[in-house]
Amino acid sequence: MKEKYTYRCVSAQVRFQENAIETFAKNTEISYSFRVQRDGYLGVHYQEGEMTDEEGYRLATENLKRKRPYKYAPETGVRERDKSEQEMSDRELLDFGRELITTLHEKYPDFTLSGSLHSSREESGMYNDAGLSYRNRDCTYGMDIIFKHKDSKDLMDGSFSYGFRRLEKEKAYRTAENYLSAFVKKAELPEELIIQMPVYGFIGKLVNQLEGENMARGTSLLSGRIGEKVFSEKLTLYNDRSDLTTWATPFFDGEGVVMEGDRQVFIDKGVVVRAYADKATAERYGIEHTATAGRVFADIPTNGNFSGYIERSEKTTKELLQGRLSVVPLYYDGGGFNEKGDYVMPVQRAYLCDGEKLIGMLPEFTMTSNLFDMFGDDFIGIGSDEPVYNDKCILIRMKYGH
């Protein structure tokens, strides 16, 4: 069996340095994984840049000598998906970059602005001689701005981003307005600490606990708890490759497996439903495989990960807050989860927020919690709207640390 796993990304970047355009960069990244399966082994050749199929498969065949075990039948199926909505030319990107940095600098002269405006056209494919032909395409754009106030003694004061498939300039400017206008206003820490952050700020630790091998060997905090209600009833966690807000995620995994309906539940209303596993992990530990093989190009497929999707509330972020104010961490780093699942994070910069509008800057503080509290009694939900970040916001109650 011959199989080819491909990735091509054409990207462009307008880089800003201290309120001006510094660089226009173009990259074309091409990667191939040529795979030849024979007698229960998989020979793999990884190539950066173009290579003919003939040469790629020849080198993959040579690599059968490593005897990398892989006995699973190849996947079959034909499908194409294109999530792209708008093709901006390099000229259009550069022109918007000029307009953006000039406008922001004129409007907010007290800030030094750096960062980038970037485009990314990604295409992943998998093809084999058993009849598999999958192609996934996406075209995404992003604005990432790092800012520093002229009176600040820190290296930077914060950053904001706006990601889009179709440019809506007013959203970009509204995001900047929200962050930069509120920065110079002072606010006080609220008594009740409700953190409002992008989902990915916390979810990685939760998803990692569901890894099949760790679950099976007892080394996950969720080992032995499948079928048990561990978290809040409001928490339902999916691997959702249909989620339009997840960028550049192909509908197939590194073994060419596709989930039914492109999604699978892992935590259902607080109940742990299953672990995630590639085919080899699933077989080794007697669990189901879940289309989560990683994007491995240079060796046989192994278990990967997934960007968890939490089912959203029907209420908006503001409605979930019920009149309370939230805290939006702007610049936080250095802490994290420990082996017990305890979470401590120093927050160097944060805003007080009403759920939609940033109100003012808060003093430094430390937020603390625990994985089981965060997604248990202290989990408030994810609003139906996308305020502040132009992305899904999670609301979690936490405590103040030292």
């Binding site: 355009i21 074309t28 840049g49 173009e50 003694k153 240079a298 192994t302 030292h402």
Partner: protein, 448 residues
Amino acid sequence: MEREYQYPVNLFTEVRIENRWTAVYVVQNGEVMRNLETETTGAIVRVYDGQMWYTSVTNAMEDIQKEIDGLAALATPNPEIYEHPTVRNFGDCRDTVLRYQGEDSLRKVSEEEREKLVWDYVKVCEDNPIPEVASYRAILNLENLKKEYYSSKGAAICQDQQSALFFHVSGILIDGITTGAAKGYSVTSFAELKGHEEEILAERERYLRYAKEAVDVKPGDYTCVLAPSVTAMFTHESFGHKSESDFMLNDKTLREEWILGKKVGSELVSISDDGALPYSGYVPYDDEGNRAVRTDLITKGVLTGRLHDSHSAAVLGETITGNARAQSYYFSPVVRMTNTIMAAGESDPEDIIAGVQDGVYIYGVNYGTGSATFTLQPNCCYRIRDGKLCEPLRVNVVTGSVFEALFDVDAVGNDLRIINEGVCGKNGQSVNVSMGGPTIRVKKLSVN
């Protein structure tokens, strides 16, 4: 073999070509999870017209001239380009510095040797079983990098770097909690990876005790004694990132805050950076063709230098230091540390601990961050009482202010150690660095 290109007139052009060989062998819980060997070649072409950089990346070496011409068509020719202060700072050396292409080249280590090294360490651990070890992972990663740099100023540099990395991580499971016990080595030759069996076993025992006995720290301010590996991270994070001058170019507040000659720390503190040292941050020439030099950043508590690329040195009117580094050919260089070391002092480490009535000894850290409030995330600490190390402590994060912590260093040990296992992230790029330091005592840090 030196390459030749037709450079466009009235524009500055540079070409950086990288050939990277990598071998990885990973054993996890008895299974070979990775066994691969790859070789990739790519190039970045950069054209500068005095206003903007235009850059492009290719894997096809035969297309480099086409890339140069394409970028030149986007740029605006500038007859004064070679008088531009930044361009004047770019290197024009012609040199070859190849340390790792002979018998010591990691490319020459056979697959059998690689497998044997990993399985030998696995066997040693299996022969000394600890019932609480529920999982393990042994990782070997070898890399040999050959780089070429050419520019329209006449530079033609060929240099190489290599790193041999081995890590053994055990998952110690006690009462449903898994504590990682990791011991790693990052060196420049394969032979140096051998013979660490006793240290790996001892580290497992240390973390077994930690997993069994650690108590949660009561959050508060403590006098902290930092083990050499922690001082190394502290040096990198608390001050090192503030020595990278690209953050302050047109910022009046920061230029005044970090003015050379200012007292920024205790007289016991001296910190330097030197890319020519043969550690993980070894870069004989940086990615702008400038030779690495030693830069004394802090000398006895006084700010005496900072790190530069060609642009920052031009803007600040200071001397280039050879600190422009890029993660790979996909990236343009930015100002980065290389081998950053806090100099040893004269105190005996035991005496430093003996001088603490009630404090925290930080033995190991996972990572740190370096804004004005720097952070360290420890993985093993001990309580100090009456000058003695006591029970293990579980600490989540240690924070401090760069404007205070360096003044609070009141003891510096004579046990300087270089940590080669460092990887530093900045602006989305990761580069290998080494960090060094001795045991130190800091009068007050916030512990959570």
